[in-house]
Symmetry: C2
Subunit: 209 residues, 2 copies
């Protein structure tokens, strides 16, 4: 019988709460600056009025990300982790009822920018979404395999910069499938809108009855 | 009397070893994909023959970075941390004599890509160098203040992409100085060579008798 850590016990409570309340939560994990908040800005604008959303965002310090996400029809809360390099199930769990109080069915959890630590801390989410930007380099999935092997969905961001970077799309997909055969991949640019329709349709599909 | 952690005790041993052996070590810390290895590739090529260098590079998995740095006149060793999100003083300490055996005076330690955890683990280095790429966004120093407040030197990388990103150089410098007044700043592109002369001269100055 596995002994659960305090975090895992809380994660299980969150998982049960989400299920009982018909809410889907995704845990967005990636390196600093790969475009999580930017993608959420454009995503919330597109889903505003069609899918009731909410956001819990974590950073060591500042509420810069939360402020960028306000005014788009979704409840947004900022967690400042101070020294911690990842969100934890307890602090996220406390915010779930509050952030869904006005009917949100889809909760985006933007984790602290980090390709390693957040993978080890279950928040009770339905699943993890890993983001990787074209500017980070094709081999990151192999070098940071814990996250990429755990995340069933990967979003490749900043595709608009690919041409200036000699981005090797095939090589990146090879690295991704090497670490996670069958991973579900989005290649998009939240800046130009390329690939955003398919991403938005996917999200709408998560909460359709 | 402060009780040192096991890591800090080892770090002090490393610090003493470096001093006794006339070797300078810098701990390069930044987000995944901000260009640490790329900068080291170009740096080793430029210092080859003028400053004897060595590299200790850490990643969760693979020796991709070490392989990129071979054949440039410097001893290179890869540490695979597996689950750890940062290098530790003990593993680095074991490699210091080996990697300087043929006379290296400047050791570059490329830490695991992570803007949070490595700041908390002293390796015994002379000082930390934080890297930040234009593609990550101007406000990262405020959002990840632990590293940027500890690092006396910051290298702004990928300046060649600044024009495609509407990079706000003044805003970024403001964030950097807000977290660390008096920080010593390099703005360069290892790709085009912009700003590299001043960086190389600075490194040469570290080891001149
Ligand atoms: N060209 C381009 N730039 C982008 C895109 N998405 C984000 N960016 C830029 O990338 C930088 C970082 O974006 P953020 O949204 O702050 O990244 P983040 O992942 O939320 O960062 P953290 O929360 O600190 O981990 C900003 O300067 C954005 O404008 C994109 O699709 N194309
Ligand atoms: N345009 C441009 N691209 C760069 C520059 N420096 C690095 N890159 C690209 O950025 C990506 C990441 O570079 P790396 O050197 O692997 O970054 P890193 O910091 O060593 O990554 P980790 O070791 O995984 O943390 C690669 O695709 C590089 O080609 C630069 O000055 N300009
Ligand atoms: Mg963000
Ligand atoms: Mg590297």
């Amino acid at each position: 019988q596995k002994i659960l850590s305090a975090n895992d016990e809380m994660a299980e409570k969150n998982r049960a709460w989400l299920s009982e309340n018909g809410v889907v939560a995704v845990n967005m994990i990636s390196a600093p600056g790969s475009g999580k908040t930017f993608l959420l800005e454009r995503t919330l604008e597109r889903l505003n009025g069609s899918v009731p959303c909410a956001v819990i965002t974590g950073d060591q310090q500042t509420d810069n990300d939360a402020r960028r996400l306000e005014g788009k029809g979704a409840q947004v809360r900022q967690i400042e982790t101070l020294s911690a390099c990842h969100l934890d199930a307890e602090r996220v769990g406390r915010l779930l009822p509050e952030v869904t109080a006005d009917g949100a069915k889809l909760v985006f959890i933007e984790n602290v920018g980090n390709l390693v630590c957040p993978s080890a801390f279950d928040l009770g989410e339905n699943f993890k979404i890993a983001l990787l930007s074209t500017t980070e380099g094709e081999d990151k999935p192999a070098k940071y395999p814990t996250l990429f092997s755990l995340a069933p969905v990967v979003v490749l961001t900043k595709m608009d910069l690919a041409e200036y970077l000699d981005w090797d799309a095939a090589k990146c997909r090879e690295y991704l499938r090497g670490v996670h055969p069958g991973v579900f991949l989005f290649e998009l640019s939240a800046k130009t809108g390329e690939g955003m329709d398919r991403w938005i349709q996917y999200l709408e599909g998560l909460v359709v009855a």
